[in-house]
């Protein structure tokens, strides 16, 4: 497995109330796990813990075990953790170093920090660009990209670190629909073309529909449900914890309730999924 949390608890520095309690989850190579839950459930904190940034970079006290490709995050220095687990946040502007004149050099920022050889850096940058399909952006000025393009470049620069695990904390929440679609497609490519283990927090469950293999529901710092994506997205657990169902699922349920379901779906709800986009 690539990411394994076992009975993890976490408290921010200087506080007494834990934000996470007894959390166990696992993301294997090539698997996509969606993390959902109401606000303040601790999803963002869980992302920081998974990436080793908590407690490594922000302090706080961690209980339990967080294994990244077999190593405990406690034992990893920040740059070692970064090569095992990449993390992407919501705000496109803060993800880029802002010091590179071209997108190519921005993506090379990470590998350069590691002191890799020029040949190795070229290989990694080209690989990341190819996987995310952003060849047309390489010469552009990183300051002049749209939100969606910035997130793709940020994603590429994280992938250039060749992590085994990728954690995304609401990557599309600050993007317009075009940007969201861009990032959604890129993530789908990542999932199918690489064996990266992906943990993605998303409010837009439409995105998870079709992308995620499994779903984990977090509420009040604890895991309250976990299971296959299709069953959880269609079931009643999500609404019970303040998470909206994907539009496609809602439409299908409404049609089924009205007795029209069978005639409008074209196998796996494809038509409805297309409507929802």
């Amino acid at each position: 497995m690539s990411l394994r949390l076992t009975d993890v608890g976490y408290r921010y520095a200087g506080t007494t109330v834990p934000v996470l309690t007894g959390v166990s989850l696992e993301v294997r190579r090539g698997q996509v796990v969606g993390l959902v839950g109401p606000n303040d459930a601790g999803k963002s904190t869980l992302c920081l813990v998974a990436a080793g940034l908590a407690p490594g970079s922000i302090g706080g006290s961690l209980e339990g075990s967080v294994l990244l490709d077999g190593r405990e995050t406690r034992e990893l220095r920040p740059h070692e953790a970064a090569q095992r687990c990449g993390i992407l946040f919501q705000n496109p502007a803060t993800q880029l170093s802002g010091t590179a004149p071209t997108v190519y050099e921005e993506i090379a920022f990470g590998p350069r920090n590691l002191g890799l050889s020029v040949a190795e850096i070229v290989g990694r940058v080209d690989g990341a660009v190819a996987t995310l399909g952003i060849r047309g952006l390489v010469e552009r000025d990183p300051h002049r990209l749209s939100g969606g393009e910035s997130q793709l470049v940020a994603l590429a620069s994280v992938m250039a670190m060749r992590p085994a695990v990728l954690v995304l904390d609401e990557p599309t929440s600050q993007l317009d629909p075009a940007g969201t679609a861009l990032v959604g497609r890129a993530l789908a490519r990542l999932a199918t073309e690489t064996s990266v283990a992906i943990l993605i927090v998303e409010h837009k469950t439409d995105l998870l529909n079709g992308l995620a293999d499994d779903i984990v529901v977090l509420d009040g710092g604890r895991v309250v449900a976990a299971g296959g994506a299709s069953s959880l997205l269609a079931g009643d657990v999500l609404p019970a914890h303040g998470v909206r169902r994907p539009a496609a699922v809602s439409i299908r349920r409404a049609l089924e309730a009205a007795g029209l379901g069978g005639r409008l779906t074209g196998g796996d709800g494809d038509i409805l999924a297309g409507l929802a986009e």
Partner: protein, 271 residues
Amino acid sequence: MGGQFSTRVITLIPVAIAINIVLGYTVQSVLKLPIYLDSIGTILVGVLAGPLAGALTGVLSNVIWQYAPGIGGGTIGPFAITAGVIGLLAGLWGRLGVYRSRPASGTQLLLAALVGAALVILVVLPIVNNQTYLDPSVGGFPDWAVPAAIGIAIIAAIVVAGFTYLRRDLAGLWVAGAGVITGLIAAAVSAPISAYVFGGVTGSGTDVIVAALRQGGADVLNASLGQGFFSDPIDKTITSFVVFIILASLSPRVVARFPNGSRLVTPEATA
């Protein structure tokens, strides 16, 4: 890498530099006010991260401002020394816990506010009463200097006392004190630079004061000093108050992660 130059501090410094330059430029060139307001970032970094980080922020702000295409040019570069000193002092105040919140109420608060006001007046009185400053042949101030000084002292006293009282925080006094001392030292460091490098003027609104002092007979260095001792404490005290307000608005959780964090946050705040 840790200590005063952790990654977090390295990320804060460029933002602080940009704040210094943009705010300084806007206040001086767009709003054309006779204050500088170009040290907020420097003092903020000094207080949060320590003297070296603060000094670096100050020096780089001036150097980059001079070099920046479009808004550069003029006299800013050589004053990097002053900016460095301001950053160093801010680091010192941060370490000493000057910017830590000290909530108070009732009589204690009222007393503190009155003491603050009294101190301000006391500091200004010797300047006003000093014969050397009143006698033009020795190199003194023009006629309007005395009433102006008294007026400024009263306003300053009200501001310091009011700030302390309204925020219910004794730190207001300490912050004001730190601001005044920083301003005086900054003036002392700047005056020689201004006098010997630029002939005593800097191209900003404060040159009027320099002119007035020279009209009163002061020589180049003393005129610059006189102008500095007037403008800098005001500017640096305002800046210190602004930094204090900024720190108060930041989440204690975040402040605690900076090198001086433990001296800025009271233990109860993060519970």
